[in-house]
């Protein structure tokens, strides 16, 4: 952690010097430190935050406020308990809080966000040694905990039409409406986000906007989102053709759930995804397959969270499997 703090120091000579002559390894640090990345992610999350505040009004504001405050507080508390230097300035806890809030339903009571933040930061991150050491995406660890702990508050029943702005079947996300009731909706509200769902997942347009910004800035890798989207398209497409849904199924599974948000903002977490380009393809492929397996064959209508967590678990294996051979070794 002290390394990243040092790198964000503007007086660091490597940041200002135009030409820097040094012995190898020639690793260029400029503009790639943790804080810079996290601010990039926050900028990319901005359209999604605005969209969720527009759609869910005070529910979104409340949830964002609770999660960010709780994440910062638990990061402070647990890092202090471990006797380490305080790491709030790298903004990673704030990003975890925003992503967590955007993945919760707006109607969830305050303790859901607070507990998810404490579990996510405490058990998901600091226990492993802090940022960079965690195996699982902290926001998703927290969300998985409350998802299982408070199934009633997190399930389909909690997605009520809170503000009247979304044209949704009452009390159902597009995916659960399709899965359990066979109801469908038009592509336009699915794409722009005027549907029901967790705060940040509804608007495909906002997620694409933010996600493309991340990819262009190279803060997030392009391989992971692309391979996830391709895999999901292929599997959903096959299901669509064989079930003769005439496109409705595919559109719902691409735009209706947390797929866009998950592919661009959750799966691309650089700490918990593979390091090599090849590994990122495998990671995205696995995540996409697991998403569709959970969506099609389990009791849950949505599977992005569990898919990402499961692939997080095999990331060390993917890293070992795809690590490049040093030249000269067979």
């Amino acid at each position: 952690m002290s390394d990243t703090m040092k790198n964000s120091d503007p007086k660091d000579p490597t940041e200002t010097a135009g030409l820097h002559v040094a012995p190898s390894p020639h690793i260029k640090n400029t503009g790639t430190d943790t804080q810079r990345m996290m601010i990039d992610v926050m900028i990319a999350l901005l359209p999604i935050v605005l969209m969720s505040v527009y759609l869910f009004r005070l529910y979104a504001v409340k949830q964002l406020f609770i999660c960010v405050i709780a994440c910062l507080a638990s990061e402070f508390l647990f890092v202090w308990m471990r006797g380490k230097a305080i790491t709030l300035s790298d903004c990673s806890a704030a990003v975890t809080g925003i992503i967590l809030a955007l993945s919760l339903p707006g109607s969830a009571p305050w303790f859901v966000g607070v507990l998810a933040s404490i579990v996510g930061i405490g058990i998901g991150k600091i226990i492993f040694g802090g940022l960079g050491m965690n195996i699982f995406n902290p926001a998703m660890v927290g969300r998985a905990f409350v998802m299982i702990a408070f199934a009633q508050l997190m399930g389909a029943g909690s997605y009520e039409n809170m503000t009247g702005l979304v044209d949704a079947v009452s009390g159902a996300t597009p995916l659960s409406a399709l899965k359990f009731n066979g109801l469908t909706m038009d592509i336009a509200p699915l794409f722009w986000g005027k549907t029901n769902g967790s705060l940040g997942e509804t608007s495909t347009a906002a997620c694409l906007l933010g996600g493309l910004f991340l990819v262009i800035r190279k803060t997030a890798s392009w391989q992971i989102p692309l391979s996830i989207l391709l895999t999901v398209s292929v599997i959903a497409g096959i299901t669509d053709i064989t079930g003769s849904y005439s496109g409705v199924f595919l559109v719902h599974h691409l735009f209706g759930g947390a797929l866009m948000f998950g592919a661009f903002f959750i799966a691309t977490d650089p700490v918990t995804s593979p390091l090599t380009a090849k590994g990122k393809w495998y990671f995205g492929l696995g995540t996409g397959i697991l998403i569709m397996v959970i969506r099609l064959f389990s009791g849950y209508p949505e599977g992005v969270m569990f898919a990402v967590l499961m692939m997080n678990a095999v990331t060390p294996l993917i890293n070992r499997w795809t690590s490049p051979q040093p030249m000269g070794e067979a």
């Binding site: 009571p109 303790f111 507990l115 058990i123 905990f145 299982i148 702990a149 408070f150 199934a151 508050l153």
Partner: protein
């Protein structure tokens, strides 16, 4: 045998300093599986206490007849005898509890805690020492099981021994009575016990 701990030392060590769960990390299968409520946890602790006590006494009595290469078989057979008694007893008098605990009562046979105590203490020391060792270890095991079960039952259902202790507005953390809750609780409590141990040893160094 001069360097072997006395009966009283064996008894005290089993409760906290060498707690079977928190210090020796033995018997974790029942620790994780039956601690979703106080009642199954206490039943399990009592069954283990019975088997441990009887097995320790019998092994201690026949310790001079044991052949080194056959001792594990003898331990297992002795333990299996008493486990069968405990299992049939529960099925006869506490049928519902026997159903709840399911395979975990027969699985006491392979509970490493009991084989460990037979090997470490009963096969080397007198009957009195072996018995007091068994009682100490059983109390330690019971304490560990009930501490985990208390956390899980209270957080998971708002109840303690089936009686409501938290206000009815308490949102049940369902995850705590499911398997993940067992791992999380055990991990956090283990960390807590180690933390207390570190603080204690620091204090004794400073004194």
């Amino acid at each position: 045998m001069a360097d072997q701990p006395t009966a009283f030392e064996r008894f005290v060590q089993g409760i906290l300093p060498e707690n079977p769960v928190y210090r020796q990390l033995l018997g974790l299968c029942p620790t994780l599986a039956v601690t979703n409520g106080m009642k199954p946890a206490i039943t399990m602790a009592c069954s283990v206490a019975f088997v441990l006590l009887c097995a320790n006494i019998v092994i201690s009595l026949i310790r001079n007849l044991l052949k080194p290469h056959l001792r594990i078989v003898v331990f297992t057979l002795t333990i299996a005898t008493f486990v069968t008694i405990a299992d049939r007893f529960l099925a006869a008098y506490l049928f519902q509890m026997s159903k709840t605990l399911g395979p975990y009562i027969p699985l006491i046979i392979v509970n490493c805690l009991i084989i460990c105590r037979c090997e470490v203490c009963a096969s080397k020391q007198s009957v009195g020492t072996a018995a007091s060792d068994a009682i100490g270890q059983a109390i330690g095991f019971g304490l560990a099981l009930s501490s985990i079960a208390a956390v899980r039952e209270i957080l998971g259902t708002g109840m303690f021994f089936g009686m409501r202790v938290l206000p009815s507005a308490w949102p049940d953390w369902v995850i705590m009575v499911l398997p993940p809750g067992a791992f999380i609780t055990l991990g956090l409590l283990l960390g807590f016990v180690n933390w207390i141990g570190i603080i204690k040893s620091r204090r004794s160094v400073n004194d």
